[in-house]
């Protein structure tokens, strides 16, 4: 089955068993929310780092699909097609 790849920043990789890329089988487009649900089901702590308990993406977590940050698309309802990559990147913030 075709797959969708989720690329993690190095700081989060220990929460995914050291993996830099997670893959999710998909036979058609799926939403970013459902992808993150699948991540959380497998790696619960990682899931909580990305979204709060209301399901909202944390403020300084950016998720890119096809080069665009999902907040500029349809948010967590943005659809991802098999073969696409989803990038998780922490925003430039802090002090």
């Amino acid at each position: 089955m075709p797959e969708i790849s989720i690329l993690l920043p190095s700081v989060l990789q220990p929460l995914a068993g050291g993996q830099s890329v997670l893959t999710a089988p998909a036979d058609g487009p799926v939403t970013v929310a459902s992808l993150l649900d699948a991540v959380a089901a497998e790696y619960a702590v990682l899931g909580r780092r990305l979204r709060d308990e209301t399901g909202a993406l944390r403020r300084f977590v950016n998720v890119y699909v096809g080069g665009d940050e999902v907040r500029r698309l349809q948010g967590l309802d943005t659809r991802v097609s098999p073969g696409q990559e989803v990038l998780v990147i922490q925003s430039v913030a802090g002090g």
């Binding site: 989060l12 619960a44 909580r48 922490q90």
Partner: protein, 368 residues
């Protein structure tokens, strides 16, 4: 990194804006440090639970990127455990999300396993499994005053929890909202702020809305508590029914810290800051003030402290231990931590150049 001595007697935990440092000591003079733990995450709350012959360190952790969580260690920080689903998460029906854990408070010896937490948004939580899972206190969450509670500069949080070790009374302080009291173990809550000024409100004596910065209970006198307010230092002798000023004799009535002695009646410590608008020690001279008579008089304590200090001391960046004589510890937003092994008579600098100190907790290690 210095490895901790296995038979250490004293533990000092320092939560900062960029991680946690742990220090152990045999004599409260020489300290061995490990850290930073949770590097680049702030540690605004620490609870050291020494009940049942075990030393469990609980920490509220908050990353600006990855959010808040609670972790614990039973081996003095060698390893940390974080429950998969999170120790504190808001139930779905609240529509709320945890922002920051401000307080972790192990209950009395007689209630092993019970740990309380205060959080932002304003909420109180209770665990019965040593802090691994907490339940939201619905009585306070659903309180009719909630919509009128405000946010202090640091956020809207329940930051102080005081539980009567012998009964069912619980006091909570929040910024802003003031003191709330439960007589039934947390089922129902009533505002108890009579006598505490809210000078920043149109009515300076409201039922609630005060900005109480910290409360602490007198360990030897039932029903007596002390409060450091946003201007004003107070005491109650009737379980918070009435508060009266005990600020006379202090160089300033502003500050964040309120500590009480682990055993002795009438003994409390504050760290005065000049004013609301100038949050520095008065004249830049850092000093702790101690009362031994429940606030009727105060003694200035500055031996060992620097001549000039322009950093403030935050509400949880101070602690006492249970040793004899009691130890007093505090840290500044400039990253310096001071310790006294003689109840504040003399201080020594135990750490410096750390990130802003947000929380300090000290304890005697269980079983040592």
């Amino acid at each position: 990194m210095v490895r901790m001595a296995t038979a250490a007697k004293h533990l000092l935990a320092i939560g900062t804006k960029k991680g946690l440092w742990l220090a152990t000591s045999q004599d409260r003079q020489e300290w061995s440090f490990t850290g930073p733990h949770f590097f680049m995450a702030e540690i605004p709350s620490i609870g050291i639970d020494t009940r049942e012959g075990r030393t469990r360190i609980l920490v509220g952790v908050r990353s600006p990127h990855w959010g808040p969580t609670v972790a614990h260690s039973d081996d003095l920080g060698e390893t940390w455990t974080e429950p998969d689903q999170g120790a504190i998460t808001f139930p779905e029906d609240t529509g709320a999300a945890l922002e920051r854990v401000w307080q972790i408070y192990p209950d009395a010896e007689s209630r092993p396993g019970v740990v309380w937490a205060g959080a932002e948004p304003i909420s109180v939580w209770k665990s019965t499994d040593g802090g691994e899972h907490f339940e939201l206190n619905r009585g306070l969450w659903d309180h009719p005053h909630r919509s009128e509670w405000g946010a202090g500069y640091g956020g809207a949080a329940a930051h102080s929890i005081v539980v009567d070790p012998a009964g069912e009374t619980v006091h909570v302080a929040m910024s802003t909202g003031g003191v709330y009291r439960s007589l039934d173990g947390g089922t129902s809550w009533e505002a108890r702020n009579k006598g505490i000024s809210a000078y920043f409100m149109p009515d300076p004596n409201p039922e609630f809305g005060q900005c109480v910065h910290k409360i602490a209970a007198d360990s030897a006198v039932a029903g007596r508590l002390y409060a450091q307010n946003h201007h004003g230092v107070y005491r109650t002798d009737d379980n918070a029914e009435n508060w009266k000023s005990i600020a006379e004799g202090l160089p300033a009535d502003f500050g964040f810290v309120m500590l009480t002695h682990p055993r002795r009646e009438g003994t409390a410590w504050v760290v005065p800051l000049k004013a609301d608008g100038e949050r520095i020690p008065p004249d830049g001279k850092l000093a702790v003030h101690r009362t031994d008579d429940a606030g009727n008089s105060w003694k200035r304590l500055s031996t060992g402290l620097p001549e000039r200090e322009y950093n403030s001391v935050l509400r949880d960046a101070a602690s006492v231990d249970t040793a004899e004589p009691a130890g007093v510890y505090f840290g500044t937003r400039g990253g310096t931590v001071y310790a006294s092994a003689d109840e504040g008579e003399t201080f020594t600098e135990v750490a410096s150049h750390l990130p802003d100190v947000l929380c300090v907790r000290a304890a005697m290690v269980a079983g040592a």
